[in-house]
Symmetry: C4
Subunit: 254 residues, 4 copies
C-alpha cells in the first residue's frame, strides 16, 4: 500500500447540495466532538474508509478480540436541504507530505460524490475562557461568507494559521472549484470544550436545516475524549519506542 | 530500486488451503523463533525474497566471504491439510510509509499464490512471568475466531495496539477478502521466551495438522537470538553514525 | 496532492527573451526584497501558483477572513528587451527531496513558457558591513558571465556553496540548455539589507533595460520583512509542536 | 526532479568485458582515492552524470565563478582486457530510500552499457595500523572469488556489515545476474590511508592488466582529501542550520 486509499463500502448516488463536514482531532477536540455527535444524532451511515501509509503502522485491539486499523471514515446522511458527508477520524497524517496526500484523496472522493462545499470544524485557542464562545470563520468564497455571516459566524477576527486538514481541505478545494470554509469555536485550548462544540452544532443545524437534539452531547464528548486519549497513548508509545531506537539503543526492531 | 520488490526463485502452483505464517522480530522474539523453527522442522523451501528501500542500506558479510542483503524471505511447505507459506526476516521496515508498502507487497504476493488466511505470530508483553503462557488472539473473521477458540486461543483479553506487520497484515488483508488473525504468546517482554514460543508451535501444529518435534526448539531459539543480536548491532552502529552526523559532526559521509 | 503542482491562472504566449528572476527567502532577505519590489514597480501580473506537499501543511488566515495556502507565485511583465517571469514566495521546500522536486517543476514551467535564462538572486554573507555592497556572481554559461561582468558583477571571488533554489535552479537549468546565474549581494547576513538589495535592483534594471524608481524600496523591504516574520513564526510554531510531539508528549494530534 | 537521474554526455558502444569500479567516499577514503587515481592515470573520459534528489540541495561555487551540482560521475576507459567504467562522487545518498534508489539507477545504467562485473572499493577499519595492509573481499560469485583469490584477496576474514553503495551495488547486482565483489583495504579507519589505497590500485592493475604508475598517488590522495573535506564542511553547515531550525529557532527559511 503505497498511497492513501479510499475503500468504498457503498456507492451512493450523486449528492444533492453535497457538503463535507469534518470531525477530526484538533484544538479543544471541538471538530471531533461535533462530527461524532452529528453522525450519531443524524444516524449517518458509514460509506467509506480512508487508509494511509502516513497514518501510524498500528492496529488497535477491540474488546471483542477484533482489530481495527487506524483510519478515517466517511459517513453520509440526507438532510432536508443538503446531503451531508461527514469525515471522522482519530488521527491526521503525520507529515506535510502525508497531509497533502490525504487532503487530495479526500477531495477526489468529494468531487466523485458531487460535494460542492467543504466545511471544516475546529477550535480557535485564546488561552482564556470566554462566556460567549463565539464562532470564527475563514472562507475561500464570498457567497459562502455571506451565508455564514447570517448565521452569526465572525469573519476577519481570527489571526495566525490553521494547521492540518481544517485549513488544507477548503484551501485546496478552492483550486477545484469547491466552496470552502473553516469554522472555529472559540475555546481555551487546553481542555475539551463541549460548550463551544454545542454552539457549532447549533449553528450547523440551522445552516443545514437539521433537527439535532443537544442533550446527549456532553456524554458523547466524554466518550470521544476517552477514545482519543487511548489512541494517542498507543501511538505515542510506539513513537517513543522508535525515537529512542533511532537515537540510541538496540531495541528498535519490534 | 524505488519500491519494495519480491524476487521469486520458484513459481509454485496455486496453494491448497493456503495460509501465511509470519516469523518476524518482535516482543519476546516469539514470532521469529516460531517461524524459524517451523521452517526448519517442516523443511520448508525458500521460494522468494522480499527486498525494500525501507530496510537499512547495509549488507552483511558472511563467514565464507559472501554477502547478504537485509531482506525477508518466503518459505513454502505442504502440510496434510494446508499449504503453508512462512515469512521470515531479521527486520521490519523502519517507517510507517515503509511498513504499509511492505505489507502491501506481502499481501499482493500472498494473493498471487492463493493464500486465504493470514496468521501473524507475536508476543503479548505483560511485564511478569506467567506459568500458563496463554495465547491471546485478535482476528478479522468470525469463523476464524471460532476455529482458533477451539484450539484454546483467548479472544477479548488483550488490550492496546499491535505495532508493525503483525497487525497490518491481517487488518489490511481483510480489505482484500482474506481471513486474518494475530496470535500473541503471553510473555514477560524483556527476554526471549521459548516457553511461550513452544506453546504457539504446539497450537499451530494442531491447528494445521502438522507433526512437529519440539525438542530442538530451545537450541534453535538461542541461534535466532544470536543472529538477531548481530543484525541489530550492525544496523544500530550505522544508524548511530548517521544520527551523530545529521546533528553534529563531519564524518557522516561514509 | 502527491506532487508539486503549478496552477496556471493565465496561459501567456511564448516569452520573448524570456528570463526567470527569483525572489525567495534567503540570506539578508535580499532575493525576496528584490523580487517583491520588481513585481510591484513593474506592475507584473500573477499568472500561476506553485503548491507543494513539501511546503508546510498550514494555511494563513487573512485580515478579511479569507485563507491563503503557503505557496510560491509566478508573475509576468513585459520589458523593452525581455519578457520577465518573477518567482516569489515566503518559503522554500523543507527537504532535499522537496527542493529538487520544486526546482524541477519550476524549470518545467519555465521551459513551457519559453524562458531561456535563469537568474536567481540571493545574499552573500560576509559577517561584516561593507561600504560597496559588491555583487558576486556564479554562472553556468560563459556568454552570460561576459554580459554580467559588463554590469559590474564580480565572478570568482565568492566561495563555498549555495543552498536551495538559488543554486539548484541555474545548475539544473543548465542540463536543459538554459543559461543560468546566481547574483549575490554582499551583506552582513544577520539583518535585512536594503542597501544591497538596491544595488541588485539597479543592476537588473540596467541589464534588462527597465525603468525602476528606487525610492519606495525601503518601505517595501520593511513590509517584506514583516510578512516573512509572521510566516516564519507560524510555521515555527507548528514545527515545534510536531517536534515536541514526536520526541515526547501526547499532544501531537492536532 | 523527482527521481535519480543519469545524464549521458556520450553513448558508448556495448562494453567489452565491462566492469564497474566505484570510487565513493568511505572508510579511510580508500575507495575515493583509488577511483580518482585510476581515472587520472588511465585518462578515463567522463561519459555521464548521476544526480539525485537524495543528495544535498546545494551547489558549490568554483574558483572561476562557475557552479557545480553535487553529483556522481561515470568515467570510461578501455584497458587491454576490459572496458572499465568508474563511478566517482563526493557524496552518497543520505537515507536508505535514497541509497536503494541510487543503487538501482547505477545498475540500470551498467546493464545498459553491458557491464558484467561490479567491483566496489572501500576500507576495512581495524582501529590499528597493520604493516601488510591486506585486502579483504566479499563476493556474490564463486568464479569471481577464485579470480580474486589468485590476486591475493582474502575472503572469509572480514566481519560485520558494509554500509551504503559498496555493499548494495554488488548485492543488488547479483539479482540482475551480475557478478560482484567488494574489495576492502585494511586500514586504521580514522585517517586517509594511501598505503592501503596503493595496494588496491596495484591489485586492480594486475587483475585488469593495466599499466598504472603509482608515484603520483600520494599527491592525488591529498587533493582528494582536501576536496572531500570542503564538500563535507559545506554540506554539514547546511545540515546543522536545518537541524537547529527544525528543533528550535526561526531562521530555518534560507
Amino acid at each position: 500500500m503505497n498511497d492513501t486509499l479510499i475503500v468504498e463500502k457503498e456507492k451512493p448516488k450523486k449528492l444533492r447540495n453535497g457538503i463535507l463536514l469534518t470531525g477530526l482531532p484538533g484544538i479543544g477536540l471541538i471538530g471531533q466532538v461535533v462530527g461524532r455527535y452529528l453522525v450519531e444524532e443524524l444516524k449517518a451511515k458509514k460509506i467509506a474508509l480512508l487508509l494511509s501509509p502516513h497514518f501510524p503502522h498500528q492496529v488497535f485491539m477491540t474488546k471483542k478480540g477484533g482489530m481495527r486499523l487506524i483510519k478515517n471514515s466517511f459517513y453520509l446522511c440526507h438532510g432536508k436541504t443538503h446531503d451531508i458527508l461527514i469525515l471522522l477520524g482519530d488521527i491526521q497524517a503525520m507529515s506535510s507530505v502525508g497531509q497533502y496526500e490525504v487532503a487530495g484523496a479526500v477531495l477526489d472522493y468529494c468531487q466523485k460524490l458531487g460535494v460542492k462545499e467543504i466545511m471544516t470544524v475546529g477550535g480557535y485557542s485564546t488561552g482564556k475562557i470566554s462566556e460567549d464562545r463565539r464562532i470564527f470563520g475563514v472562507t475561500t468564497s464570498d457567497p459562502l461568507r455571506e451565508r455564514l455571516k447570517k448565521q452569526g459566524v465572525i469573519f476577519g477576527e481570527a489571526r495566525g494559521s490553521i494547521v492540518g486538514a481544517a485549513g488544507l481541505l477548503p484551501a485546496l478545494g478552492k483550486l477545484r472549484g469547491l466552496e470552502g470554509a473553516c469554522l472555529m469555536g472559540e475555546t481555551h485550548g487546553s481542555y475539551v470544550d463541549t460548550v463551544s462544540a454545542k454552539q457549532i452544532v447549533l449553528l450547523l443545524s440551522k445552516y443545514l436545516s437539521l433537527k439535532v437534539d443537544l442533550k446527549r452531547l456532553d456524554a458523547k464528548a466524554q466518550e470521544s475524549q476517552k477514545v482519543l486519549k487511548k489512541v494517542q497513548e498507543e501511538v505515542q508509545k510506539s513513537m517513543e519506542a522508535q525515537f529512542e531506537a533511532t537515537s540510541r539503543n538496540v531495541s528498535y526492531i519490534r
